[in-house]
Amino acid sequence: MGKNAISFRDVRKVYPDGTTAVDDLNLDVPVGSLTVFVGPSGCGKTTSLRMINRMVEPTSGQIQVNGQDVTSVPEAALRRSMGYVMQASGLMPHRTVLENISTVPRLLGESKRDSKRRAEELLETIGLDRSLGSRYPAQLSGGQQQRVGVARALAADPPILLMDEPFSAVDPVVRADLQNELLDLKQRLNKTIVFVTHDMDEAVLLGDRVAVFATGGRLAQYATPEEVLREPADQFVSDFVGRDRGFRALSFDSRDIPLSGVLTLDPQGRVAELGTPTMGSGGSGGSRGSTAAHQTGPSAAVANGWTLEVDAAGAPVGWIPPSGGEPAGGQVTHRVGGSLYRPGGSLRQALDAALSSPSGLAVAVDERGRLRGVLRPQEIMTAIEAARESRS
């Protein structure tokens, strides 16, 4: 960090029709960071982004890339030095996937063979099969097209990537995939990325820093996602961030929470009691059985009386309520479902796991999905309070 890849200095953009799209923008994007521009429709996100590669020229002010005024570089050269990905993928329909990806290298004079080889590697980088290389864009799904758009932007290995709502046209499931891949890419290739979205969730998930734009082209807040969630700079930001922001902000906290024991029922119908190792210290080895063997009789930790059914491998299956008396094997009344807590998970996951659970207890599992213990709401709350206090 330290150095800035992109700097906006007093930048204003007024369109010929009089619309002020960007108003006096000052903003620095550190090298190697992912900065998200977020804000309601028409607030100037796209305009700001496009001023970086001079697709739009500012009305006044200056934009620097690596400390150099962008107007001092010829337009075409500037643009070749940055990857640009946009919502509508913008792939050339008359070229194959490989040809699309190698556009910029070819423009830069690279040989056909080299650029093709590189394009094939990139296909893998972005998680597409090489066999898709000879297809045309129309033969790909929307999500695949977006991936190719990303690959094209990466092809010349530019230090800067500009991405304008790249994932907004794909359905939520594919979108989640693409987001994870981008996070992954970001870690592997050390790029400076500017990413536009109007989805706060996406911003929080992806961004090192988030720039919240307000209508009229004003930069309302520029901070880490956590700060934006925890301390919205003004009413506009707090409204924009929307409901559940406190809950969402818990994504950024992760603490050791003491595990409690719980009654378990295995497929053989044996009821046992699981001990209380502390979360985070646990290695791999099976904690069930061995730990349980050391304990006898219910302790305070298993007070609320629900029994957790586990399968042969020790993975939680379902909750049996206390009133159920002697449960007959396999009579699960409440499925555990998806809300489990994994080691190292965020406080958000812990809290949701507890809230989702019919017993009120979050089920903690290890990497392989085997039961580690349960978390009690009070202890989760205490961890949340502790996290809060350590912040202030």
């Binding site: 429709s41 028409g42 796209t46 919502q87 709502e165």
Partner: protein, 252 residues
């Protein structure tokens, strides 16, 4: 410029018959093409057959039709009916295609909504499909009319009176001005009628112009249309659709 003032009544008379020979076929052609096109648009089988068949008709030189029709129809060779039938055939050649496109281009969700609301098929055709097909259809009609106006004059070669008579007569009498008057009048007729149709189209498709999107919608998603790059216009300009049709049809 002495010829024109002295022959004004001749010119007016010829303009009149010219107009009739070009307009009547368009009307007839439209009446025939619309049902054909509606059939074609709804069927994967008939559509290519009809569209390609129509294109084939177009390769026949107009003069030939003018001459052959009397043999087929039993009319006299200089009968205006030959021209009208021949040009009607050309109009159909153009319109079957553009009307088919027009019906195919009607937004399916609107049709479904109309069905869902409880229109019968017949009601839906008259109240929804036909009006919505007008913009594209009209582009075809404009092309056909302009092509017709140019083609009518060919009839003069076999003695059918029209502005084309000014060409043959001018050639015989060596009066360039006479031919020029004929050419200019033909163009004026074509451009004038075309503009009339354009205006008619504007009136019939006034629902297409987004017009006043006022402040009360400014908080709204209408803004999403103005995201990046040049803004796509939501409503096709009638001239625009004329241009698209023109790019795929013409007159011989």
């Amino acid at each position: 410029m002495t010829w024109l003032p002295e022959n004004l009544d001749l010119v007016l008379r010829l303009t009149g018959t010219h107009l009739m020979q070009s307009v009547v076929p368009v009307v007839l052609g439209l009446l025939i093409s619309v049902p054909l096109a509606r059939l074609a648009a709804g069927s994967r089988l008939i559509r290519p057959l009809m569209v390609n068949g129509a294109a084939l008709l177009y390769t026949i030189p107009s003069l030939t039709l003018f001459v052959l029709l009397p043999v087929v129809l039993g009319t006299r060779i200089t009968s205006i009916i030959n021209v009208i039938v021949a040009l009607t055939i050309y109009v159909i050649a153009i319109l079957v295609r553009s009307c088919t496109d027009a019906f195919a281009a009607v937004d399916r969700s609107v049709l479904q909504a109309a069905t869902a609301v409880g229109y019968t098929k017949w009601q839906r055709f008259w109240a929804v499909e036909l009006p919505l097909a007008v913009p594209v259809m009209l582009a075809g009609v404009r092309t056909a009319l302009v092509a017709n106006i140019s083609m009518v004059s060919v009839g003069a070669v076999i003695g059918i009176q029209s502005l084309g008579t000014l060409f043959t007569d001018g050639l015989r009498r060596s009066i360039a001005e006479e031919i020029l008057v004929g050419v200019v009048l033909t163009v004026i007729l074509a451009v004038g009628l075309d503009q009339l149709l354009r205006l008619l189209g504007l009136y019939l498709t006034r629902w297409q112009r987004p017009g006043r999107l006022t402040a009360d919608s400014s908080h709204d998603d209408a803004r999403r249309t103005s995201s990046s790059g040049p803004q796509p216009s939501t409503a096709p300009d009638p001239d625009e659709s004329a241009r698209r049709i023109a790019a795929t049809g013409g007159g011989a």
